[in-house]
């Protein structure tokens, strides 16, 4: 009490029109259990909504789950909007099905990590912690 305390704050958002968020919820709970504060925003988030939430919640990390295959249009938009808001220090992680041939392109755009299906939550936790140091 009275001491300053900082927690890792993470926004978990599900982008795109497909309708389930089981994976995103599993990750959200795992991050909470690792001591992080996770803001969960739910389904069908547009790049505008994701950026607005990241700003209002002042998160260090945005975790984006995309199953719809629209990552090559959504992700560049999110990155551009985050930058426009001045959120240049926010780390961006992707989850979902991302084909190998798109990965290097996304990394070049500034994505800090990509977690395919079956990635252990332990690894996700470690990568987020490392990115926030």
């Amino acid at each position: 009490m009275g001491n300053s305390q900082t927690k890792i704050r993470v926004l978990i958002a599900k982008a795109g029109l497909d309708g389930h968020d089981r994976g995103a919820k599993v990750v959200a709970r795992a991050l909470r259990d690792a001591g992080m504060e996770v803001i969960y925003t739910g389904l069908r988030q547009t790049p505008e909504m994701i950026t607005e939430a990241a700003l209002q919640e002042d998160v260090q990390v945005v975790g984006l789950s995309i199953l719809s295959g629209a990552h090559m249009t959504l992700v560049p938009k999110v990155i551009k909007m985050l930058q426009k808001q001045g959120l240049t220090d926010v780390k961006l992680f992707l989850g979902g099905i991302i084909p190998d041939e798109d990965k290097s392109e996304l990394t070049k755009l500034g994505v800090d990590g990509i977690f395919g299906p079956g990635t252990s939550t332990q690894l996700i936790i470690e990568d987020i912690r490392k990115a926030c140091q």
Partner: protein
Amino acid sequence: MPVTRTQAVLNGERLALTRTLSQVENNTPEGNQILEELFPHTGNAHLIGVTGAPGTGKSTLVNQLAFDYRHPPEGTKPPTVAIVAIDPSSPFSGGALLGDRVRMQDLAGDPGVFVRSMASRGSLGGLASTTAGLVQVFDAAGFDIILIETVGAGQAEVEIASLAHTTIVVEAPGLGDEIQTFKAGILEIADILVVNKADKPGADNALRALRNMLSLTQPEKNVVMHHGKMMSTEEAPAGDAEPDQEWVPPVLPTTATTGDGVAELIEQIAAHQQHLKTSGGWILREQARLKNEVGNLLQEALHQRWNSSIPPADYEKVLDQVVSRQISPRRAVDKLIKGAGL
């Protein structure tokens, strides 16, 4: 000269605002400095607490309230709305899952709304003063209405409720929590009672039950209602409102998912604000609020100062003496406070 962060907050810059909220939440020296500078600019917002058991529909209701505030009848200027949504931290991991935004999607894209989620983190006094700090930042930034959502489960919520000018307690049928809420003493803090999920069976029963309970907890107000003002002059402190101006908490049905009843709720919120202002209650609440906040901060600061003044080994030693029943807990506190003769 570059604009200071304080100035940027006062100008309504969102990046400065969100960073300041974090500094205040993390209790950093910079955050405290900015709060210091912002404080003279506070005191304009209407602070509205929304509390109740989990699942009663608080977030959905806050969403609908904010939406309606932002969409007033033609020709009226909509007030700006800030929302602080507080959820408990896990006592085991210290982490938190903050999901209130899921119910607040209708507010997306509105520059006159700002939604901030907050985890309760540790202690009671700490949470109350952090919340007070966040609210002051929003107030200084010019938000007209600040909605504070808390889970009503105990003392902490009562404390946070005491932050607000107007406290709304939300109930819902079918949760079987009327009695629990009653026990927690939360009914006494309600300025307005809402039975949400009025579309569900059992809502009428809940409304009736609440109205009954209210008449039990506020007998003097009933007396006033039935026999005129002479009966309860004793209850009114000197300089307070005339007894016949006493506020009787209304009990309202809402369906947050459709917005039914929310216009009436907004009317009652405005009526309560009006009542506070004309009865002098507004100033009394401001005083109580600030006194509370100073008390919390003082407690925190004293504890902090004491903590850093006592070597952990001495603390352990005294605890051992209590455990082995050489000295009583009271004597131990005496020793620890005096710091001498350990």
